[in-house]
Symmetry: C2
């Protein structure tokens, strides 16, 4: 898909530069795709496109190319890490869930703590993004401590790194045995709710059919 | 993809029968795909496959077909309504969010209320699934009332029905103007957090770059 096309690359923490370059390229009349892994709208750069347009008086319009002052922006959805990871684990997200990023680079830690407590208390399945990086190595310990204040220590935890990539690793553990050193920036963590179970190495959150219907075959 | 293949269909509320028929078909040695719209792991039937296997002593194993007693089950992730809808609206989900189903058929309403309050209080963007059906017509009114207890009445609300389908409808409003009658079972609702804004008809939740960096062009 990229052969013969101009490719613009920039490193981590250069998101603003990269997105602005994409906007400028499109404004010049060249169709330009800003590529994210997963879904561009889940903890990714789709938002920054709109933020930069707003801050710099770049209008949005329907059509196919930029006219120097306004852009046509289309967000193409994808399969986010929370879906790819859930599929590899089994079915941990078939009931209400909360997605929380543990990165406090752009979000004050107090807000993250409040969200962890609220989600744990209300029995959401919890998906943790950005649990750790080389420089951020204490957030997951603290998150684990908060979650243990609300959830049973045996709560199933799924750990997925590099879902659907060559470096893919999938691991099941429990909240008490969650080892923060085993995760990195490419890891997504899934913390079960009070009803999540493990069956034959699959992590499953019941939707509630078993409370309403008898699921044993003789009664079907 | 389905031409020449045997197709098994069943109606709403026949989920247990349908999934069990899929399991039986696979156990008989025939490869069988259980099809969901969106992602099969988000409020969909992937979980029921594992629940029925567990309840009926059907084992899981690696391999390609069933041997009469155990199955190879692969969950193939897809693009859930929350991603498809978010892409159509702009970028409402680039920060922490909670997904909540308003259907109290399989979940007690008190749990749903608790989750609405917790998610609203902790300033999650909130995605509401199953906001209404022909028989369930009061849940969304109550949810709106709860959310208004925590969120500004001008909070942006995105309403997406039939995302990426022929009957697709996309609408932006505010929490105070949310009209429960405008939604149905195929609608997904997006309630902004305290920082979500609307720019040129796009609903956007900032990731936080603007708090850390100056986003105006002259400073790049």
């Amino acid at each position: 898909m990229i052969s013969g096309k101009k490719i613009i690359v920039s490193g981590m923490k250069k998101e603003v530069d990269r997105v602005w370059e994409a906007i400028q390229t499109a404004l010049s009349g060249t169709s330009c795709a800003l590529v994210s892994s997963g879904d561009p709208g889940i903890y990714a750069l789709a938002g920054l496109v709109f933020e930069l347009c707003r801050e710099n008086n770049v209008g949005l319009k329907d059509g196919n190319i930029g006219d120097g002052q306004s852009l046509y922006v289309e967000v193409v959805p994808g399969i986010p890490a929370l879906c790819a990871g859930a599929a590899l684990l089994g079915a941990p997200l078939v009931h209400d869930f909360a997605a929380i990023s543990l990165s406090d680079i752009l979000t004050p830690w107090e807000i993250i703590e409040k969200r962890l407590s609220a989600a744990a208390d209300a029995d959401f399945v919890i998906v943790l993004y950005n649990p750790r990086s080389k420089k951020r190595n204490r957030q997951l310990d603290k998150a684990k401590e908060i979650l243990l204040g609300y959830r049973c220590s045996k709560t199933p935890v799924g750990i997925v790194t590099g879902a659907m990539r060559e470096n893919q690793r999938v691991c099941l553990t429990t909240l008490e045995n969650l080892e923060p050193h085993a995760v990195d920036m490419q890891t997504t963590l899934f913390i079960g709710n009070s009803k999540t179970f493990v069956f034959e190495n699959k992590m499953v959150t019941p939707r509630g059919y078993g409370d309403k219907y008898d699921l044993s075959i003789t009664n079907l």
